[in-house]
Symmetry: C2
Subunit: 150 residues, 2 copies
DNA sequence: TATTATTTGTTTACATGTTAATTAATATAG
DNA sequence: CTATATTAATTAACATGTAAACAAATAATA
């Protein structure tokens, strides 16, 4: 039996708890939360994105996104634009002020990313991603090896 | 430069998002949140734990723990007990009702854990834990290789 | 011993996560 | 064309996360 402390959720949480403070400390200099950073990060590379696409790219749940975008919009960092073809759709776009942040934030985040990755070899890093992908794909598939246990 | 989608926070979040629903679906049968489960899981094996110890073992921030324990206490699943030696300390203990849940929940969680782990080989799993530990230890250590760049 | 510092748990204020329901717009079936 | 289903975003209700401040108790120091 797998011990509680070594279950996948716990080891992932533990790693996140260690890593996130470094990022948060940086984001705080710009009055950004980690989630707000994620939204901006996507808008810097994609220009015009629907709420649904933003949820997928940022891994943020859409109900959370509403408030996050509200607060970014209030600070004039992003804008909402209702689609003309399909009026259910809302596009989110970085403003000039929002775009200006990219040059300031991205290089410093890259430093943190690099420091994190420097902890392990390239092979270990690749294996990490592969293993996590493998687990993700395995989940929510039928458990064939237990099929007879119905 | 490391792409946004392949940064450590994102790949960990992505894996968690895939895995947690399976656990949550189970916990919902017992009207438990994932966090409440974590607290109970610790109390089942440790009997008498202070709030601080509980925060460390569950990876839950202590301000969150206050509410989580409140709600468990309201349902008579746990009890708070003020220490007599040091009256700042609060012990948290599972009630009989709380202890009864163990036999029902733990085996079914073990099944999910096993299914997750079955996604990869034993070596891959070990490498996963090792790599994450390595990263965790590397973080918040002085970055020696950049020392001259001040 | 009176003062100051530290520790433990809690509170506060605000941001986000989770689930279900809702609204407005569009698509589809009859 | 009309009733119905579906979709995109939002709202609602509640639980949790984050950072800072706080009260009470204990420890450390002058």
């Amino acid at each position: 039996m797998i011990s509680f402390d070594h279950s996948l959720p716990m080891i992932l949480h533990r790693a996140l708890d260690k890593v996130l403070p470094d990022y948060r400390e940086l984001f705080a200099h710009f009055d950004l939360t980690e989630q707000q950073w994620r939204v901006l990060r996507v808008l810097w590379s994609e220009k015009k994105v629907t709420s649904a696409q933003l949820a997928e790219r940022t891994l943020l749940p859409s109900p959370s996104l509403v408030g996050i975008i509200d607060r970014l919009e209030r600070r004039d960092l992003v804008t909402r634009l209702r689609s003309l073809e399909d009026r259910r759709v809302v596009y989110v776009i970085a403003t000039a002020k929002g775009r200006d942040l990219e040059a300031e934030v991205v290089p410093r985040v890259a430093e943190i990313d690099a420091n994190v990755r420097a902890a392990v070899t390239a092979q270990e890093w690749k294996a990490l991603e592969t293993t996590l992908d493998k687990i993700a794909k395995h989940i929510s598939e039928p458990k064939l090896d237990e099929a007879s246990d119905g």
